[in-house]
Symmetry: C2
Subunit: 306 residues, 2 copies
Amino acid sequence: MRLLVTGGTGFVGRWAAAALVAAGHEVFVTSRSSVTIPGCQVIVGNLFEKETIDTALDIAKPEVLLHLAWNVEHGKFWHAAENLDWAAATIRLVASAQKMGVRRMVCAGTCMEYDLSSNLVCSEATTAINPNTLYAVSKDATRRIADEFASVSGFEFAWGRLFFLFGPNEHPNRLVSSIITSLLAGRPALMSSGQQVRDFTDVRDAGEAFAALALSNVRGEVNIASGQALQLRELAHEIHAAMGGIGELRFGALPDRPNEPARIVADIIRLRDEVGFRPIKSIRERLSETVEWWRNRLASESVMPS
Amino acid sequence: MRLLVTGGTGFVGRWAAAALVAAGHEVFVTSRSSVTIPGCQVIVGNLFEKETIDTALDIAKPEVLLHLAWNVEHGKFWHAAENLDWAAATIRLVASAQKMGVRRMVCAGTCMEYDLSSNLVCSEATTAINPNTLYAVSKDATRRIADEFASVSGFEFAWGRLFFLFGPNEHPNRLVSSIITSLLAGRPALMSSGQQVRDFTDVRDAGEAFAALALSNVRGEVNIASGQALQLRELAHEIHAAMGGIGELRFGALPDRPNEPARIVADIIRLRDEVGFRPIKSIRERLSETVEWWRNRLASESVMPS
């Protein structure tokens, strides 16, 4: 099958593209810069430009569009104006893809679309929607338009909601990366209370789950997550253990964020039973692999402490 | 004050632009084609193109943006793909205007964003949102993004929700126009049961209300309507009377639409008390003027029945 993957060079997208290639599909990937991706045809361009959208659709002639691109700067993306550019680009991409006769479209959403104040498990069917960042509002609004458009135009539409991720190429300031790199550098890993409960997934599994969703005929919202409720404190201890217990975890060194939800955990019944996706490895194994990835990365950058 | 009005050549926008000019402001209007609008500087271009957006903002350097453009074909606009183009264009316009430092933005929404199933008066503060057409979903989603963006970026944002309109230049197939043109042509005016209750406003008043909203500092959603609950049957009788009782109204000749809300009426307290807008003329007077407008129009087109 021919698939067009946007964001196919990104944190999640590279694993989705790789999984689709591995499954024998013809995969086209859009990228802002000229890169080589094994098994994929790369289409260079900027999705904010209509010409790129049209060219990509024209070259790929995809049966399925997997739209994962939505890049905003780490630390700024919650309230960045660029969210509007991505919402607009996504809406235009969906409109153009429909015009081209694309049969199925799958886009990436976020757990932050949910009303997280109840601290209940987030279910696609029953949890209220109440995004309260520009990022999540933009995602939610984009989904509303694409979903309604799908229902009046007849294409298949699915929306995978990502929860918390870790894994190769994660931004070094994000939680799992920062714990690993601090400990590897011989610094204590400074953390908040660590009481918060989150649903963490390895990005390779998230990418594969998106590939599975793209290849399925499941419609509507699907949580892309592990379904495992992990306290950040436990997560840190897992990482610490995976590193052989070197270094120190310092809980409470950083303040908890005000109004931070106590619990963000996904119901993964749709992903598991309807999409049929199950990760091959445990979170523990994936954390070990991620530690190993960082060791290699830092070694190759020659910035490892002696 | 410098204002940029999009859709300033349109059904509503021309009256908004005229009201702003009459109030002594410096008004810039975007238009797809080269036209002359008294007192306004026209910027020709297509808002679907980023260049037009940037050029218009650069020329106008507006303190206030009044975005009324959202053109889709009559009879098709409820579910037209073009709604996505307009949503994307609006989001990009808002993003660019914020970047340019525009202090205040006012956009046009629709009463169809409300949950109309209760048949209660639509209040900005208390009526639930539940759009169920692609048009209304696209408007609602666009508003969600712009509103959140305003709250994180600090510009003023208002959203005027239009209810039912009539007046000069209305599409001839729409309700009031079709009654008038049928009767003028000596044909019976074919209607549904006419039991439905709607809130009708003359488009000149709606345009002036938007101008008032643009010039105010009122934020958030504001119903742009008359607040008058008028049964379609009564409306038809008013038109009939304004025409001196010529011709015949044939109620029940057309079917009512399935699932049509029985009642769509606006709470206009915000428009009246916060924006301070009150129409000068009654609906009855405006209907008479509209009949006169159609008489002149048809006479000038030499298609009047002898």
